[in-house]
Symmetry: C2
Subunit: 326 residues, 2 copies
């Protein structure tokens, strides 16, 4: 029985020991570069955690490789997202399209997705149809979420429900799918696979809602990034969409004024918009909604037939995800 | 028993009847657009032709969908290649990144590759590990070929052997893999799958050598594109690489002069370089090499245990691919 932390370490070591030096270098070096930038390896670790909920066997390549495939896929999405967002830095290092060029980032990303499928195809043959379906579903879901996210930038009428569906696709289905793939390979029952998927889906949404909240209300020393970036960029988060829905009269006018302002002083804009959020009771609504999804995830977890100690690890993971404010 | 032409028609109809209208439209409309632009549907038709070499069963979705997956994958590579080449037109219509934008082309391409895997995963469960391996191999091979092709643009010391390996990866492995996947699903023996792969690999190289030849020596009315484009662009084809290797003294100087010339009159450059090729005997060497690969493909075909009439269809396909000059 390994803890999540031990599994993150295990995956980290496995990824560090992957062979390098394949040709052509222009295709493969960017892939190893992206994978070497680190990250918490949460998705593959959750895959292994799900596996050991249902199987007493030691980890072999039939589950470690699919877990690595999930991390390779996740990093592929970051690589292509960085091209689309024209982002220069990732984890404190230049992005692939800055370090190499745009074409390299596109083609290496494509190869990286295929590598992810290669790792996935190392699962036991008897589970392959189910694993492939789960992986295809999560992969397409992530693309759909990214498309909605880009669409929302130029739309003025995004509803809260649409936003929640977007973050479900963009964030949750990869977490939920990672858990499900581990459970499939661990031989879980259909019922347990479904509840584990629900756990992941809901905790992913709760996480993103908390992330949106902390971007406005977090302690910069703890949150690890600048506060207020979403406000500065008019990012259509739950907070903004809820505020746009609730604001009336003067508050509505003022909120729209800040949204339309160009070259506004960023500190003033952050303070003013946060003030409007406060007056409208948005922080409370945000925390309520976050708690609703958190509780749903815990309820799903409780339905799973598995060792209580191990389920406790997943519960702790959920609590840690949400509890980053303190 | 269907002819290649009938199978191309069958695939065309299947692709035309694929459901459209999925959301988000920004992700899926470009995919349908690319698939609607047509093309000869050679790869999926070859997949079905290979299947019916070994199976007497009517085509069901367990082979038609994987065949469609091959066409979807092929069109995905065209979509991303067009972004990388900054090409404005494809089959007489604007490319996706011109009609929409670069980000749409990247993300829709990613989704398209996943769709290809979804179709591939409709193969019979018992063949899935083998089909997935064949598909992953061909997909990664195409990326490697594209990378070498891009690398060669900025390299001055490309050898003929490197060029042949590049076109094997960029062109042949998709043709060979399409045949192999059809053979796998048709229940072919390991020996027959291997020979069919060899047939595809060699005919693909012969095809590309012939394409290079026709770009310089073809009849524009028959070849369907302008003659001399490769010469104008200093494209490192077999002809140029062989000429660079053979040229001595004055011929070498003149060839290098044309390669380094900026803003040269294109007609003069084409005529002059063609003249150098003629003097060096390059056309004959090109046709000899093409014939060598063509003959290898036919030899591989002859080793396959299957109905001679049906093998005749594949042989005719090979002849047609090569015999476009008349």
């Amino acid at each position: 029985m390994y803890s999540l932390k031990e599994l993150q370490e295990l995956i980290h070591n496995e990824i560090s020991s992957l062979s390098t030096g394949e040709e052509p270098k222009g295709l493969y070096e960017p892939i190893h570069y992206v994978l070497s930038l680190g990250g918490k390896r949460i998705r593959p670790a959750l895959c292994l955690l799900a596996y050991q909920l249902f199987s007493k066997k030691e980890f072999g390549k039939e589950v470690i490789y699919p877990a690595i495939g999930l991390e390779v896929f996740h990093n592929f999405t970051l690589l292509h997202d960085d091209v689309m967002d024209a982002a220069n830095m990732r984890r404190g290092m230049p992005t692939v399209h800055k370090k190499w060029d745009g074409n390299t980032a596109i083609l290496s990303g494509d190869a990286m997705m295929i590598k992810a499928y290669q790792y996935m195809a190392e699962c036991p043959e008897k589970y392959m149809p189910e694993v492939m379906k789960a992986f295809n579903d999560l992969a397409l879901g992530v693309c759909e979420g990214q498309q909605y996210d880009m669409d929302f930038e130029s739309r003025s009428n995004v509803s809260v429900d649409e936003y929640l569906e977007m973050i479900r696709l963009k964030t949750s289905v990869l977490i939920a799918g990672s858990l499900k793939i581990g459970a499939i390979i661990g031989g879980a029952s259909q019922k347990d696979k479904n509840f584990l998927y629900k756990f992941g889906e809901n905790i992913g949404i709760a996480f993103q809602l908390q992330d949106d909240f902390l971007d406005v209300y977090g302690d910069p020393a703890v949150f690890g990034k600048n506060i207020g970036g979403d406000i500065v960029n008019n990012k259509k988060t739950f907070l903004l969409l809820q505020a746009l829905q609730k604001a009336q009269g003067q508050a509505k006018e003022e909120l729209n004024k800040w949204l339309e302002s160009k070259d506004a002083d960023t500190e003033k804009k952050i303070a003013a918009v946060r003030n409007i959020y406060d007056e409208l009771g948005i922080p409370g609504l945000s925390q309520d909604l976050m708690n609703k999804y958190f509780n749903r995830s815990i309820e799903a977890l409780e339905q799973i037939d598995a060792d209580e100690n191990q389920k406790a690890d997943l519960k702790q993971f959920a609590v840690n995800l949400i509890d980053r404010v303190n």
